[in-house]
């Protein structure tokens, strides 16, 4: 099966029903995207499919054929992704860090659709991403910071 991952056409020997998460992690060997729950409850596996944030743990690879998958590994080449990552470092958001790939993918998607989100917008866009270290306050600050830098 041919998948377009971070701008590269990648041939993977996987069944159609395999979730994108396991195709990227266990078959393509890209481990930046994380497994947290397997049922779209925690957001750790968030990637972009044609620019939209999706939960890759429940989205089969068949849904990605002919579309572009973008993962955390490509955020350094993305203008909004860069701003989000810079804000994350400036605010020192991370703790254990396991959920942060997903948080950054969700935040980047939010800022692409809504360059100046309110706190309520952030609640709505980010409440699907769990952080057990509870970095939510800093994530909120960092999203506002990235929005300001991009404005």
């Amino acid at each position: 099966m041919k998948l377009m991952i971070n701008g590269k056409e990648t041939e993977l020997n996987v069944s159609e029903d395999m979730p994108i998460l396991w195709a990227i992690r266990d078959v393509a060997g890209m481990t930046g995207t994380k497994f947290g729950c397997g049922m779209a409850q925690c957001g750790a596996c968030t990637v972009h499919l044609d620019g939209q944030a999706i939960r890759s743990c429940v989205t089969p690879v068949s849904a990605a054929v002919g579309k572009k998958i973008t993962t955390i590994e490509a955020m350094q080449e993305d203008k909004v992704g860069q701003a989000v990552q810079a804000a994350w470092q400036q605010i020192d958001v991370v703790q254990c860090g396991y959920c942060q790939s997903g948080q950054i993918m969700s935040a980047t998607s939010l800022l692409k659709q809504n360059p100046k989100p309110s706190d309520a917008d952030i609640d709505a866009a980010m409440s699907g991403n769990i952080c057990r270290c509870g970095t939510y306050q800093r994530i909120r600050t960092a999203i506002h910071e990235a929005a300001a830098k991009l404005a």
Binding site: C37, G38, C96
Partner: protein
């Protein structure tokens, strides 16, 4: 402070040696202060090579070896700060690695290699500074030799030794330094000389954790490594009766099915095949006649026990002698089983070879993992190499004296005859046990006319975390598991009451229990600080004033309490519909007070802000302390509002984040953290922010609604 540490007298330095292009400073540690008593295996082990706390490369890099695991709490940054200050290091050249499992890295107080008890920073404060100071002394001697000048005229700055206008970078001195004798003593810097300690410092693990390159146990991959999932007993303690794996073996990608002591393991090329293969297993478990826990029945049993005499944990005077009591308050508090639910589901990669065994995982307790793996494989502990990866959260779940997930993974690799990474699903994690034990507290307190407690009877009911572990011999005394009664038996309120009796019922059960962030304080903090609030209201006193009176001889409690109250504007008006609650609790050597601002609308609790004050002694990285307080508020608030593990017909009801609910962004309050300027003894910061949160919120709910929360989670109790 004794700045001069005589290293030779304490036989602290074992050797220095040149290895792999760097200067290695190696230590052996004093064996005296062990209390966990499981270090016998470790004692027998020879020192590994290289055995070191830091390594300087010819390229000027300074690699700090962590004796503790980074699980979010920030030791990846704090321990290097200790070394950097004494070494006058260039912060930009610092690299960090997890140390292997080895005697050199045994906890200075606990006697095994462990990250827990909120102890890393205080327990390493001397050792890591000494490592930095010793290395600096060696580098200065090396520079003196190279320049042929006396050491006395030299100074160090930003990774170099300086002599007037001459400069030698540390990397240029490594070879000379490695041939020099070990200094007999080093002088540690005075606090006013610190450049890093006490200053807010950004995390060193930030970049790799935001670009996806940080390696967690889950991310370990190498050629030949297969994935396993284990089908485990649906009721704790039951055994497998039969398995049929015909359909499993037909799943593309499934390699084999093996039996292990905990169940049946499906080995596959990737997670997806392992998961599908496991779903296709036909399993029968021997459930007949087996104890099947049920939450409603457990509650009844615990409540009945709470009214019976238990094993005595603390006693003074006579609780029956409070004749002049004006009134008596009796209250019962109920707390559920809780899952740690770290974001990274449990996992462990194991490769067994002729020489021994390599284990890659995120663990908080290397010594017991190593010992357990060695036992399973009939190896010596030093033949088991533990490669600690970043932990995607720990909260106590990855510090298991029974080494559950590591032992199982070793059994799987052994049975499969292949290198295997055993991966737990979220459902496996939620249903897999090792919970914070369910607890019931029942207390009867009689008060005098002024509201001062005259007699305090307090009975706790819950499972022991320590019983049946290697720590039992030292941590259970006279039938009392210290972790069951901490926060009650040693409470200043209880000890300050002339007549008191604290008793414990340790319930036997097959449900595996474990320390959950703040351990016994996670339930005792709620019971004690809710009860104190009830006593304040019963005696018609302001909850803050009442606490101040009872804690008047406890300056560190008071300092935290007063700072939190002051910063929260206690007594000043709030927005309409918003009410305050307060709590203060000591745990792990730190004193934390919190004021929660809460509104209740249509039965829904909304926490708007939490003001936190902490006295942890010296705050090595103040921003790290703040981060841990924010984290503790979030972790504890999720549990207070909605987390619960319950049992029906022997099985765990919850399975994933839809029914084991934790805090999400929309429910995160604003958290304002204030650190008490303190020169008192250092305490921990990873856990002490947890205990006061639930009572502060529940006390605010009482202020808002007049309804007293005596059972967690709050859930729909206000609907």
């Amino acid at each position: 402070m004794n700045d001069m540490i005589n290293l030779s007298r304490r036989s602290f330095i074992k050797s220095t040696a040149l290895v792999a292009g760097g200067l290695v400073v190696a230590f052996s540690i004093p064996q005296a202060k062990r209390f966990m008593g499981v270090a016998n295996a470790a004692e027998a082990m020879p020192l590994p090579a290289p055995n070191a706390f830091l390594r300087i490369g010819a390229d000027d890099s300074i690699t700090v070896m962590l004796a503790h695991s980074e699980m979010g709490q920030g030791v990846w940054t704090t321990l290097p700060m200790l070394i950097a200050d004494e070494l006058d290091a260039d912060w930009n050249t610092i690299k960090v690695e997890h140390a292997p499992a080895a005697p050199a890295y045994i906890h200075t107080a606990y006697g095994i290699q462990i990250t827990g008890g909120s102890s890393t920073t205080w327990s390493e404060f001397d050792r890591y500074r000494q490592a930095g100071a010793l290395t600096r002394a060696l580098l200065m001697q090396a520079a003196a030799k190279q320049w042929n000048v006396p050491v006395a005229g030299l100074r160090t700055e930003n990774g170099a030794v300086i002599n007037g206008s001459q400069k030698l970078r540390y990397g240029q001195l490594v070879e000379t330094a490695s041939q020099l004798p070990t200094p007999a003593s080093v002088t540690l810097k005075k606090p006013e000389e610190w450049k890093f300690i006490g200053k807010a410092t950004k995390r060193l693990d930030s970049a790799e954790k935001i670009n996806g390159t940080a390696k967690f146990g889950q991310d370990v991959q190498f050629d030949g490594l297969k994935i396993a999932m284990v089908a485990r007993a649906p009721v704790f303690g039951t055994k497998l009766k039969s398995v049929a794996d015909g359909d499993t073996l037909k799943v593309p990608g499934v390699i084999k099915v093996v039996k292990v002591p905990t169940g049946v393991a499906v080995i596959a090329e990737h997670y997806w095949a392992a998961k599908q293969g496991r779903e296709a297993l036909k399993l029968e478990w021997d459930l007949a006649g087996h104890d099947k826990p049920d939450s409603a029945a457990l509650l009844k049993q615990y409540q009945a026990l709470a009214q019976q005499p238990g094993v005595q944990a603390a006693k003074a005077g006579d609780i029956a002698s409070s004749k002049q009591a004006k009134q008596t308050v009796t209250a019962e508090y109920v707390l559920p089983y809780l899952s740690h639910a770290p974001m990274e589901p449990l996992n462990c990669a194991v490769k067994i070879s002729e020489q021994g065994c390599d284990i890659w995982t995120g663990t908080q307790m290397q010594t017991t993992d190593q010992a357990s793996a060695a036992k399973i494989l009939s190896l010596k502990p030093e033949q088991v190499k533990i490669h600690t990866q970043f932990l995607g959260g720990g909260f106590g779940r990855r510090a298991n004296p029974r080494a559950d997930f590591v032992s199982e993974a070793v059994e799987v690799a052994k049975a499969a005859g292949l290198p295997v990474k055993t991966v737990w699903s979220r459902e496996d994690d939620v249903k897999g046990g090792f919970y914070r034990p369910m607890f019931v507290h029942r207390a009867t307190v009689s008060l005098d006319k002024q509201g001062k407690p005259l007699a305090w009877q307090h009975t706790l009911v819950g499972q022991s975390i320590i019983k049946g572990t290697p720590f039992e011999g030292v941590m259970i005394k006279d039938g009392i598991d210290a972790t069951s009664v901490e926060g009650v038996a040693d409470s200043p309120y209880v000890k300050g009451t002339a007549n008191h009796l604290v008793q414990l019922h340790s319930v036997q059960s097959d449900v595996p229990v474990l320390w959950w962030r703040s351990v016994g304080h996670s339930h005792s903090g709620f019971a004690m600080e809710s009860l104190i609030d009830e006593l304040a209201h019963a005696s018609k006193q302001d909850p803050l004033a009442y606490r101040r009176q009872l804690l008047k001889d406890h300056p560190r409690h008071l300092a935290a309490l007063n700072l939190a109250a002051d910063k929260a504007g206690w007594g000043k008006p709030l927005a309409k519909g918003v009410f305050r609650g307060i709590a203060v609790h000591e745990s792990f050597g730190s004193y934390v007070a919190q004021v929660a601002e809460v509104s209740v609308k249509e039965g829904e609790v909304k926490v708007h802000r939490v003001v936190v004050a902490i006295d942890c002694g010296l705050a090595v990285n103040p921003d790290g302390v703040k981060a841990q307080m924010e984290s503790s508020v979030a972790y504890a608030l999720g549990a207070a509002l909605s987390s619960e593990i319950s049992f029906k017909d022997g099985q765990v009801v919850q399975s994933n984040f839809h029914d084991y609910q934790v805090l999400r962004m929309k429910d995160m309050p604003k958290v304002d953290v204030h650190i008490v300027a303190s020169t008192e003894k250092m305490g921990g910061v990873g856990e002490p922010g947890v205990p006061p949160l639930a009572p502060a919120v529940a006390n605010a709910v009482f202020a808002a609604t007049g309804k007293r929360i005596r059972r967690l989670p709050i859930g729909d109790q206000l609907a």
